[in-house]
Subunit: 146 residues, 2 copies
Amino acid sequence: MKVSTKGRYGLRVMIELALRYGSGPVMMDTISNCVGVSRKYLYNLLTTLKTSGLVRAVRGASGGFELTTDPNRITASDVVQSLEGHLTIVDCVHDGVTCPRIDHCASREVWQKMGEALEEVLSDVTLAHLAQRQEQKNGGQLMYYI
Amino acid sequence: MKVSTKGRYGLRVMIELALRYGSGPVMMDTISNCVGVSRKYLYNLLTTLKTSGLVRAVRGASGGFELTTDPNRITASDVVQSLEGHLTIVDCVHDGVTCPRIDHCASREVWQKMGEALEEVLSDVTLAHLAQRQEQKNGGQLMYYI
DNA sequence: CAAATACTCTACTATGTTTGTAGAGTATCC
DNA sequence: GGATACTCTACAAACATAGTAGAGTATTTG
């Protein structure tokens, strides 16, 4: 019951983009350095996030990636679900393909509640919130890890 | 971010034992039939649960497994944590081995909240509760799936 | 006692997912 | 037209999950 590196790195990536929102596209090498992920792997994450419509890519010289919308309109739930898929702890909660014992399964109600609890936590946290928190922790400086 | 079959089957197993609590040990073949898991795999689950002190084994003829204590003193949290490990979404939340950026990581607070939310849901649900719910759904009959 | 019963243990394997890497291709800016 | 920087397909190593096989051991019951 862990978040994979996709979700972990992905949220960091989005926080970095939130910190730089409004300053034009940020190139992959910069993000790669800040977050500590290889350029190649980063591309996977950004491609997924792009497909979900959370980021936009600008090609060519002085290109890069940027958020498609204001950081306070993107939640951690959006980011995590984009990269990790549905916020369901067990497939039967979301699938149309239900297991044969679904009607007399008490466990299922527990798994459902867990998913709802996660959704509640994540949808309550915006990127703006996280970026602000990050700035506080760093004393207002962007971290580069060069 | 899924519960594995260990957790899913394990909780079912414990609900079955809760339904039969006080009637002496239940043998693995019975549990295996009710829950729909092979005897061999079931052994893995029960061994883990035994190590955690949630069930007790009785060897020999007319042996089997039974809960070590009353079903309303065992929570879903106990069961899931026994089989799946700590209820942490990301290791850095619980590990002593922290990642180098732990001090300026805003994401970590999100992962921590998620774990706490799960704990809250699971520790609020007892086996007695689940067994009762299961009985309601089955009209008071034990299901055998023979 | 002895036979049946039922848990116990070690080891092995197949399968799928995660976590990446390689290298050539393509759009855009100046 | 050259430099810049994203794009795409394919592949592969490492790890975790989900089991299976088969022989061993403790207890009850007659």
